[in-house]
């Protein structure tokens, strides 16, 4: 358990962050670059000093401005995985892993052999860091942080320097960690794919402020979340359940609040909870349901609010069912021709849907 309530001013930028993170969960710190995510976790680790507020890790106050508590970095028991692995170049992997070993802080979070097996490091133990690939380095960095027996694991964009394949590989390891550990994991990211894969909760940050702290599906409601993702990546995330398979049609039917979705056949058994991602650019709107079309997924919804984002484009926030949010990016001219306003009923045509396994853990 970790509680953060800090203020820090850096030039014209002011960080004012208040959030918590529970043990056994991955809490993502999300926001565009410059939102204050890294500063926030640096304040937790003690690498940056807040101007005011408190940081409490597992009931231990490590920083309290008013109470004049400011524990040094080395006494805070934080495992920190940096964007660039920061392995010690003059030590083989094994020595890097054991550098932070602390025997005095109670039972270890994870044993050496367990960590080595979990992160698949066995065959790397005698190698020097300079000979490792980016993904291997990051795995060693994660193992090193874990073996220091931390009370909290802080990860600052640990996969952003990696290419697609390595990124998936490291994320899979982090997902496994979550199940194996009982400490809070704070994961800084600005990519939706990463968060979809491993995060339970999202702390949405913008310009130094915490906008919201909620499960991912609720966070997608915020315009600052969509702005941070960018035009192409702006998306809604819906909680769904595998309802049935139709192998003859090559389709799987997913049940969501507000209707059903049909996606290419999945291997997951019926009843499984999944996340569904729908990009705003893949959603078209119509006043009436197209009668004869090849679209598989057309759902009725309601226009909730309209945002003019930039020249020529409109982003429409829709409500599906009771409280599902869907985003559609529409051309301004097309939107005028539709003649819809907030509150109007509309049909959302989803051209493409991505299913992410996992869902709620």
């Amino acid at each position: 358990m970790i509680e953060v309530d800090i203020r820090k001013t850096l030039g014209t930028f002011t960080l004012n962050a208040r959030f918590g993170a529970a043990a056994g969960k991955v809490t993502a710190l999300f926001g565009r670059s410059g939102a204050g995510k890294t500063t926030a976790i640096d304040c937790i680790a003690g690498l940056a000093r807040p101007d005011g507020g408190r940081v409490v890790i597992n009931g231990t106050t490590v920083f309290d401005h008013d109470g004049r508590v400011n524990r040094p970095v080395e006494a805070r028991r934080v495992g920190y995985v940096f964007q660039e692995a920061r392995l010690f170049p003059h030590m083989p992997v094994a020595d890097n892993l054991t550098y932070g070993r602390r025997q005095t802080d109670g039972p270890p979070v994870i044993g050496f052999d367990a960590a080595v097996d979990l992160l698949d490091l066995r065959r790397l133990l005698r190698r020097m860091p300079a000979t490792l690939s980016g993904g291997e380095r990051q795995r060693v960095a994660i193992g090193r942080a874990l073996l220091s027996n931390p009370a909290v694991l802080l990860m600052d964009e640990p996969v952003s320097a990696l290419d697609g394949h390595r990124r998936q590989e490291v994320l899979n390891f982090v997902a496994d960690l979550k199940a194996a550990l009982s400490i809070p994991i704070l994961f800084v990211s600005h990519r939706l794919e990463d968060i979809l894969k491993i995060a339970d909760d999202v702390v949405l940050m913008n310009a130094g402020q915490v906008v919201d702290h909620a499960p991912l599906m609720k966070i997608t409601h915020h315009t600052v979340f969509q702005r941070a993702l960018g035009i192409e990546e702006a998306s809604a995330v819906l909680a769904a359940r595998v309802a049935a398979h139709a192998p003859d049609d090559g389709l799987t039917v997913l049940a969501i609040d507000g209707g059903q979705l049909r996606v290419p056949l999945l291997a997951t058994p019926p009843g499984t909870e999944v996340h569904v991602r729908v990009r705003a650019v893949d959603v078209a709107l119509a006043r009436r349901a197209p009668l004869e079309s090849s679209f598989l997924n057309i759902l009725p919804g309601r226009v909730e609010r309209v945002f003019e984002v930039d020249t020529g484009a409109i982003e429409v926030r829709l409500t599906l069912g009771a409280e599902n949010t869907l985003w559609a990016r529409v051309n301004q001219r097309a939107w005028r021709d539709l003649g819809l306003t907030a509150g109007a009923s509309v049909f959302a045509i989803m051209e493409k849907i991505t299913v992410e396994p996992g869902g709620r853990s």
């Binding site: 680790a45 003690g46 690498l47 040094p72 970095v73 080395e74 006494a75 805070r76 028991r77 934080v78 495992g79 920190y80 940096f82 660039e84 920061r86 010690f88 170049p89 003059h90 550098y99 932070g100 602390r102 005698r126 190698r127 020097m128 860091p129 300079a130 000979t131 090193r144 942080a145 220091s148």
Partner: protein, 236 residues
């Protein structure tokens, strides 16, 4: 066959002793000053930096004279030293070592400072998050990674000590067998007529000594570099 005369052996041995003690005794302070200049920002940073580099730009004779004034028997440091411990430095080999140490100090500091500045401070931050105290970080991260620079500093300083002339002759004088190092002996030989051959021999010894020092440092630096994986991407 190249055999050394007694005078040559004396001068060579004294030079090595002076250089060894000069570098040995100033290494720790040099490392501390280098670390201070590389990793800390404080008021007076520029002043300390200037003072450290002063011997590099001053005429060595000025440095020697300054040492004489400061550490001479009536100097502000020399007087108490003599009264309390009956130690008189001037005209001893220790004086030659002090003169050499002061002259070599900027070179050693500079080499070490550059290598510390080249270390990613992020590594030190990472070590601290892993529970390492300031001193453990220094011993296990900064010092090993700065080792090539320390080595360069030692060799440069050593070579500078071997060649030191102006400050030594001013502070320690030119006494054969006591303070007459290689350059001083060479100087004496060139002052008197008919010593061309003896002078040339000393010059060759000096060149050989410098070459050995430089080659040794090269080999050691390469070995360290290989250990850090900078030159070869080798794995067992």
């Amino acid at each position: 066959m190249f055999t050394l005369s007694e005078v040559e052996i004396d001068a060579l041995w004294l030079s090595l002793k002076v250089a060894f003690w000069a570098v040995g005794a100033s290494l720790l302070p040099a490392y501390a000053v280098a670390h201070l200049l590389a990793r800390h920002r404080f008021i007076g940073h520029g002043v300390i930096n200037a003072i450290v580099h002063l011997p590099l730009v001053l005429p060595p004779v000025v440095v020697g004279y300054g040492l004489l004034v400061l550490l001479g028997r009536r100097g502000p440091l020399g007087a108490p030293l003599f009264e309390l411990f009956s130690v008189s430095l001037a005209f001893t080999w220790q004086a030659a070592a002090i003169a050499a140490a002061v002259m070599a100090f900027p070179l050693t500091v500079r080499a070490i400072r550059l290598s510390i500045e080249a270390i990613d401070p992020g590594l030190e931050a990472a070590a601290r998050t892993l529970g390492a105290s300031f001193w453990r970080v220094q011993l296990t991260i900064v010092l090993p990674l700065a080792l090539p620079g320390v080595l360069t500093g030692v060799v440069l300083g050593f070579a500078r000590c071997l060649g030191e002339f102006g400050a030594t002759i001013t502070f320690a004088a030119n006494i054969p067998g006591q303070t007459q190092t290689l350059p001083l002996a060479l100087f004496s030989l060139t002052e008197a007529p008919g010593n061309d051959m003896a002078a040339a021999r000393l010059a060759v010894i000096g060149v050989a000594l410098a070459m050995i020092a430089l080659l040794t440092s090269e080999v050691m630096a390469r070995r360290i570099g290989r250990r850090l994986g900078r030159q070869t991407r080798y794995s067992p």
